[in-house]
């Protein structure tokens, strides 16, 4: 009898615990959606994040999810229109040369705590972004080499930026979400800013109203927000009153949720695209998220200091085969080191090394290479596996280490002796040729640069300097064309495709991707 009552008590306790837990978790959230989750809300957009944002401090954002949430919370001074041209954000007008810019700041913008956004506030925020102490990974891409001087003139309503060296792509850099203006309350409490708890820090249309790590984040539209950009063609629909983000969702799971109406807009995996194709209830937008290329380690001791070996490997590679292996054929074909949508990208593939498997075999047979690849390029690193198999078929031996992103970064950035070649993803958020050039042929990582291949090329750096000093687009593109052709003829890299960012939108929801860059703040409810 004692046993039975104990058992009953234990069972009752377990059941009670389970019901209490449902109160802590699922019971605590309201259902907004879909065929299986209740009535569709007309003022909420549900979307997914790859992972939790590592910070809500826009200036320190260094992962895709960080940029995405920053776009909602912080306004930038300049934005991109649907055709990629610059339009006003917090700035209504701007004048710039290769070495300086003057931005005129709009007068009706305010922080979420009501503080008016003045030129001084804008200047302080941009100075914080540019400060080396902020340890920002993007400062040099926006302001170029050296430290800029940024001042605000409240009487004139302008912000002046003086660059240390010519950098004619400053205005494009200022469209980055990382340059979003942080209001004084945020700069006064950097810990709270990172956690997203300082409401007054936000200058954008939304504030963070709920934050539950790994579960969901709610952003709520500000009633007092007026600083919407003026697009040449007004966006259809209305901004959501609430945007709810679900972090860390498996992309195939997200596809299921889109189909059942539990999610409204989200990135999906290439393999899931066919589930939405031909379905009138969904729209799919595909843009190149990151350029994927084969990169050689050109440091002393690596076999790929030999240009003949690099050429032979390039002769073996086939873009379509890589695309099929890594991205189910949905990758965007590259003619050069940057996406075709980037200004000054090479217009055709005539500069790519032509395939010649026989010639390649003659050079590569019997050779052994160390390769490191990340499992995130293609399913379980299928992109790197393709390269390994292509080389194996040519008679070479490839010792491939497939590792996660963190380990890949450690090996490629700090242990150059562990690899000879790798498949690299180049997320070019600024959308400039220079951003990719510095990664391929710029200052090596051991000297504080971004180039993990180590093949520093003074001629390329000179071409970048020429392009940045150029006063017109033609001169700039000439310099960039020369640099791109030089890299491709030297086979410093072998371009594959652009990793596709595929955004599926349920009927009634839309998002824009000006210049091939998804702008999350353009999310709208269209029904």
């Amino acid at each position: 009898m004692q046993g039975r009552s104990t058992l009953m008590a234990a069972a009752a306790a377990a059941t009670a615990a389970a019901f209490l837990l449902t109160g802590c978790t699922t019971g605590g959230q309201s259902s907004t959606g879909g065929s299986t989750g209740g009535t569709m809300s007309t003022d909420t957009i549900r979307t997914a994040l790859n992972a939790d944002p590592t910070t809500f401090n826009a200036a320190k954002a260094n992962a895709k999810d960080d940029y995405e949430v920053a776009r909602f919370l912080f306004d930038t001074v300049v934005r991109r229109d649907a055709d990629g041209k610059f339009i006003g954000g917090l700035a209504t007008d701007w004048k710039n040369t290769a070495t300086e810019a003057t931005l005129t700041i709009r007068k009706d913008a305010a922080c979420a705590d009501g503080t008016a956004i003045t030129p001084t506030i804008v200047a302080k925020s941009l100075s914080y972004f540019a400060d080396p102490a902020t340890k920002n990974n993007f400062g040099k891409l926006v302001f170029g080499p050296g430290q800029p001087t940024i001042t605000g003139d409240d009487a004139a309503g302008t912000v002046d930026i003086k660059l240390a060296q010519p950098w004619s792509e400053l205005i494009g850099g200022l469209t980055l979400a990382q340059t979003g203006i942080i209001c004084p309350a945020g700069l006064a409490d950097l810990d709270g800013l990172a956690k997203g708890t300082v409401k007054g820090a936000f200058s954008g249309p939304y504030t963070l109203t709920k934050s539950s790590h790994g579960v969901s984040y709610d952003m709520t539209l500000r009633d007092d927000y007026k600083a919407w950009p003026t697009y040449s063609k007004p966006l259809e629909g209305t901004p959501a009153k609430t945007v709810r983000f679900f972090p860390g969702v498996n992309k195939t799971t997200v596809a299921n949720q889109l189909l059942t109406g539990e999610m409204d807009v989200s990135d999906i995996a290439p393999a899931d695209v066919q589930r939405f194709e031909g379905n009138k209830d969904y729209a799919v937008t595909t843009v190149p998220f990151a350029g994927i290329f084969l990169l050689f380690n050109q440091r002393e001791g690596s076999p790929f200091t030999d240009p003949a070996l690099r050429k032979a490997v390039a002769q073996l590679m086939n873009q379509q085969a890589f695309n099929a292996a890594a991205y189910a054929g949905k990758g965007i074909t590259y003619n050069s080191i940057v996406a075709p949508t980037v200004p000054c990208a090479l217009p055709d593939n005539s500069s790519l090394t032509k395939e010649d498997a026989e010639a390649a075999k003659a050079v590569l047979a019997g050779k052994t290479f160390k390769m490191v690849g990340t499992t995130s390029i293609g399913p379980n690193g299928a992109g790197s596996t393709y390269v390994q198999e292509a080389l194996r078929a040519a008679g070479a031996t490839v010792d491939l280490q497939l590792v996660d992103n963190g380990t890949w970064a450690t090996m490629t950035q700090t242990k150059p002796e562990t690899w000879d070649l790798t498949v690299q993803g180049d997320a070019n958020f600024v959308g400039t040729v220079a951003a990719s050039l510095t990664r391929i042929a710029g200052v090596p990582t051991e000297k504080g640069g971004r180039n993990i291949g180590g093949g520093e090329n003074a001629d390329i750096l000179a071409d970048i300097a020429t392009a940045q000093s150029a006063t017109d687009d033609k001169a700039r593109c000439e310099a960039y064309t020369k640099a791109q052709k030089s890299i491709l003829s030297d086979n410093d890299i072998v371009p594959f495709v652009g990793e596709p960012q595929i955004v599926a939108q349920r009927s009634g929801f839309s998002i824009q991707a000006p210049s091939g860059i998804v702008d999350y703040a353009t999310l709208r409810i269209t029904k």
């Binding site: 837990l21 978790t25 260094n62 956690k195």
Partner: protein, 348 residues
């Protein structure tokens, strides 16, 4: 009029044959206080287990390949930035200093700060543990509610070689579902109930109905495992003399099986259930991924990718501690049901 007499005899016979019903373990006198002895032994075991858990957790995690500072710094970080981050995370301190800080923090309930996120490990665990615990507790309740009656029923119906076809079918079906990977079962559940029938959510934790598919996905294999064990145990118990005698007395079936057979089946079933519950808490990763369930399993995978040592250590420590506590609880319950187990070895 004979019923009371028969029942009295029945009780006497059954109580004399029901193991451990009245006497202490292996005939020892109750005055030796087996519970005090047991508590002392188990307390020592628990302390040793926790100490080992803390040490192993701390020193195992840094063996994960990759540099946390590089992972935190993100793409394009300079070596200076990486070094500054390494310093700020305390990774340049000797390992024994880091260990002292870690243990010192544990004594004050501080599991540290996440390397990757601007939040404390305790907060991350406090947010996500309820989700995993909810799945696991509901899962184990479902497992026991289904597997014990099902296993008993089949054991009773196939007693003494009866209904051979049922025995074979039961063995095949439970063997099949036990063998099918959790990922496949869970995906099939989504396809059928969410995508085709549209009666349940495909994923997420937005509503109570979202619990149904993950709990089923998590429970199917354990249900089959325990049902098979219970079926075998039932066959064995039903062949024992005291139950033959009980059947001879023509006791009502419910009384016969629920009162006299069930308690003797539960020792094995509960021991298994305890282990399965601990496994569910720590091993719900696949189900959490398929159903986008925001539990600890998904968190630890992300933490490993991010090289977020404090989060990995904190989650393993908490899950390990829960496993120790669960095993202790199972042993206590078993001791209450069958005091003979107090003298035996523990389950964990």
């Amino acid at each position: 009029m004979t019923e009371p007499t028969m029942l009295s005899k029945e009780v006497q016979i059954l109580e004399s044959q029901t193991p451990g019903a009245t006497k202490g373990p292996r005939g020892r006198a109750l005055s030796l206080s087996p519970w005090a002895d047991y508590a002392l032994r188990r307390a020592g075991g628990v302390l040793l287990s926790v100490a080992l858990l803390v040490v192993v957790t701390f020193f195992m995690v840094p063996l994960i390949p990759g540099d946390p500072a590089v992972a935190v710094a993100g793409a394009d970080a300079t070596t200076e930035q990486i070094e500054a981050i390494r310093n700020s995370l305390g990774l340049n301190d000797p390992l024994y200093i880091q260990f002292f800080h870690y243990v010192g923090g544990l004594f004050t309930g501080d599991l540290g700060e996440s390397f990757a996120y601007s939040t404390s490990v305790s907060q991350i665990i406090a947010t996500k543990l309820p989700f995993t615990a909810e799945l696991a507790v509901l899962g184990i309740i479902l497992v026991l509610l289904v597997s014990v009656p099902a296993g008993m029923l089949v054991g009773i119906l196939t007693r003494g070689g009866r209904k051979k076809w049922l025995d074979v079918s039961f063995g095949m079906l439970t063997g099949l579902f036990q063998a099918v990977p959790q990922y496949v079962v869970s995906t099939m559940l989504v396809v059928v109930f969410a995508i085709i029938l549209k009666v349940l959510p495909a994923a997420g934790a937005a509503s109570l109905s979202a619990l149904i598919l993950p709990v089923i996905g998590l429970s199917i294999a354990p249900i089959c495992s325990i049902a098979r064990v219970v079926r075998r145990e039932t066959s064995t118990v039903l062949e024992q003399d005291y139950l033959r005698t009980a059947r001879g007395w023509r006791l009502p079936s419910l009384r016969l099986y629920a009162r006299h057979a069930l308690p003797n089946l539960l020792t094995t079933a509960l021991t298994l259930a305890g282990l399965i519950l601990a496994g569910m808490l720590g091993g719900a990763i696949i189900v959490e991924n398929v159903f986008n369930w925001p539990g600890l399993g998904r968190e630890i995978v992300t933490a490993i990718v991010n090289k977020d040592y404090p989060v990995i250590q904190g989650i393993i420590l908490v899950l390990g501690f829960l496993a120790i506590v669960l095993n202790l609880l199972v042993d206590i319950i078993l001791g209450l049901i069958d005091p003979r187990t107090l003298g035996g070895k523990s389950n964990g």
